[in-house]
Amino acid sequence: MYVAVKGGERAIDNAHAWLAEERRGDLGVAEMSIAQIREQLALAVARVMAEGSLYDPDLAALAIKQARGDLIEAVFLIRAYRTTLPRFGASLPVETDKMACDRRISATFKDLPGGQILGPTFDYTHRLLDFALAAEGLAPAPAPQAAAAPDRLPHVTDFLAREDLIQPEADGSATPRDLTREPLDFPADRPLRLQALTRGDEGFVLSMAYSTQRGYGRNHPFVGELRIGRVDVEMDIPELGFAIELGEVVLTECETVNQFMGSKTEPPQFTRGYGLVFGQSERKAISMALVDRAMRWEELGEDNVGAPAQDQEFVLYHSDNVQATGFLEHIKLPHYVDFQSELELIRRLRAEAAASQTQEAAE
């Protein structure tokens, strides 16, 4: 006798209990603290803050711990938390030329005011597994200190702008639309596209950017400047009549300078792509700048060559990993009702096909 599958509720509770056990792993191994994750897995924390659209290293570290290191799951936890937070106002735009830079490099000028600051980068490390790290308890030797960089590091693109060599950026005084508070609609203006890119999946934005480099909407980028560091976040307080500092955030900013031979509407000049991401996330910031530039084809009067990175609907609808992973993984939920209707359809079509074949054979 068939008994309907019951007990979904108990199964869920038991699954959650098992998951909690698995998350903790072997009890004989010390538990990780939030501070350890925040300090020692800082780049994972940065990615979760960037794609979660919430700057809070401790919460991001907690999400990583709870998600067992699954970063997309951690991003999801942060997003679901973020959406419940009240909004009491908006900060002033951050001024990245006043950034306290840990790193600041230009690939277009050998030297420039403020200098090149290499900073804590993997770039010139040899990727050899460091077995000494496997032995715990060894603190690294302190890194040499230099004098602090000047308070204000000018943007490389400003030098080009002074000579009129780079396309000017229009001043946007209007309050940009908020991707998280309004439904996405098209055409999406640049502030909206940049919002989507900065919270977009790092892998997706990277691959889109890479596709432009390989010829699908090539836009000849140079990294005019890449900077990483802390900036102050300020907010106007109406009761006070002036802005006060709320805190600081670490940002990665990338400005690309793109070769451009001119179009029907624009003279030959350099053009710009822009990337700005929470935390130290330079792969993401550079990728974002390339994809931003690719999506600007229309305003610059370029041809749409049909490249995926030029198609804002394609990029914006598919860049969000919380949406993508949810919809992708939902196909593991029960679909037996739909499948049943398909089964019946296929059986019917096959029976008809077989019948007509027999009839043809008889004729």
Partner: protein, 276 residues
């Protein structure tokens, strides 16, 4: 759960969703964009339906949640628990006793009444999506009532297979105007879309809400010489003997023996109770 508002969403968000619902009711079958929120369950798990339910719930409501017609499927259990926890509303498995029913992939067999709301979880709200991938284009097609592409697709089905080869999410025309995706319900359920109850459709990831108000005309697309046929497996239910309900096929042994049972668990159980 005092940390969260009644039914999880804050009142401003609920108001925004209610506005979208009202617009949907005013323009039956039209997909209203709304600023869908990230919910504490993944996209694809019914976030659109959950937001619509949250915006409709009042403390006096009695909620029923079904997935594949059943109250005890894991995701139905999970969503029901979510609202028990965040809204402390009464819940039921009885179709007739519920004031709001959230569903995935089925319409209950028992006819619904004017006092009830049926909330559907919708994965892809756009009936034209697999004919035209661009949202900009499909919105234009709806605005111009340009549904030629859909009719050509249905015609090609008939030319190729002798019938319209769509078994679920079968497109309908609402009140003679908008072509609408009824969510992935089997086409067997399509006739039940003309109902005394208010029907609301929520697509969270795609940020769309749409509605079929009570007593709205809902016509499944077809041709005069190939009329719509809400087919089902040619069997009665092996448990309750119903011949008018949608059936799940259950494989019962390694040799592939199978039986057919009602997909609507409440319908099946109450028929068996009545017989006993």
């Amino acid at each position: 759960m005092n940390a969260y508002n009644f039914a999880y969403l804050d009142e401003q968000t609920k108001r925004m969703i209610r506005r979208a619902i009202l617009k949907g009711v005013a323009v039956p079958g039209y997909q209203v964009p709304f600023a869908s929120r990230e919910m504490p369950m993944p996209y694809g798990w019914g976030t659109g339906g959950v937001q619509v339910t949250a915006a409709c719930l009042v403390p006096e409501d009695r909620l029923k949640v079904i997935d594949q017609g059943a109250d005890d499927t894991t995701n139905a259990v999970s969503i029901r628990k979510f609202f028990q926890k965040t809204a402390q509303v009464a819940v039921t498995e009885k179709t007739g006793e519920a004031t709001i029913i959230q569903t995935r992939h089925r319409i209950p067999e028992q006819a619904m009444t004017e006092d009830q709301i049926l909330v559907y979880q919708v994965p892809i709200p756009e009936p034209l999506r697999f004919l035209e991938p661009s949202e900009v284009e499909t919105r234009k097609m709806h605005a111009l009532e340009d549904y030629g592409l859909m009719h050509v697709k249905l015609y090609e089905d008939i030319a190729r297979h002798g019938e319209i080869a769509t078994a679920y999410a079968y497109p309908v025309k609402v009140e003679g105007r908008y072509v609408m995706d009824p969510s992935p319900i089997p086409k067997f359920d399509n006739p039940k879309l003309e109902s005394s109850a208010l029907q609301l459709f929520g697509a969270g990831r795609e940020q769309r809400i749409y509605a079929v108000p009570p007593y709205t005309r809902v016509v499944s697309l077809d041709f005069e010489d190939h009329p719509f046929d809400p087919s089902k497996a040619p069997h009665p239910c092996a448990l309750c003997g119903a011949e008018d309900s949608y059936l799940d096929e259950v494989i019962t042994d390694d040799a592939g023996s199978r039986m057919f049972v009602c997909s609507d668990t409440d319908y099946c159980a109450s028929r068996r109770e009545d017989a006993a």
